[in-house]
Symmetry: C2
């Protein structure tokens, strides 16, 4: 399970990495080349698409960080884990659950569901 934990935690680290080069390295390490991401608000494919999506989220929520919520539920090649999004020095503004399919040690697809959504005022 430590390999899975490392994969998920590096995945979340890629959402938090604002240095473009380091973010891209994390994405390449964590995602399969032809990977896809989908949630209620966004869709992306491949390393370029995922990188652009994360950069857009960082621009929308500057100084916020994603962190894992609870443990990772893993069986076969499938994962489920919770996350929350927290502004620096504040309380979490959003939380969700990601479902993932793993192939050859990297993420093949991630589907995000929102459990608690940010106030968009």
């Amino acid at each position: 399970m430590s390999t899975i934990t490392d994969l998920v935690d590096r995945y979340l680290a890629s959402w938090n990495e604002t240095d473009a080069r380091r973010r891209r390295e994390l994405i390449a390490a964590v995602w399969a080349e032809n990977a896809s991401y989908v949630d209620p608000l966004m869709t992306s494919d491949g390393h370029d698409g995922i990188d652009a999506m994360i950069a857009a989220v960082q621009a929308r929520f500057p100084a916020h960080r994603f962190s894992r919520l609870g443990t990772i539920d893993a069986h076969n090649d499938r994962l489920r884990f919770g996350w929350e999004l927290t502004p620096e020095g504040g309380e979490p503004i959003a939380a969700g659950t990601d479902f993932a399919v793993v192939a050859n040690g990297r993420l093949q697809s991630v589907t995000g569901f929102l459990d608690r959504v940010p106030n968009m005022d």
Copy 2:
């Protein structure tokens, strides 16, 4: 959303249908031909495999019923919904969350995760 609700509720009805012919009809209506199911305990593929899996679960838990827990969370071609397993006249003994991919109005894949597991005594 009513189509999605109907799909999920017929999916759960197929888990509860002990008449072999009616169960098979429900499975054909609800699942794509090349569909797959995976959870921590079982894996099955195709209508024959799914039917055999459900029959085995019914044999293991006679007079129990699956029911939906809460609303269905749907976006794009993805679904998330909770369920529980309840013996006739009793309290739920297990609960889980299913994550599904839909294609052409039928289930292409379902991944089950267990949230509360039965006492196997």
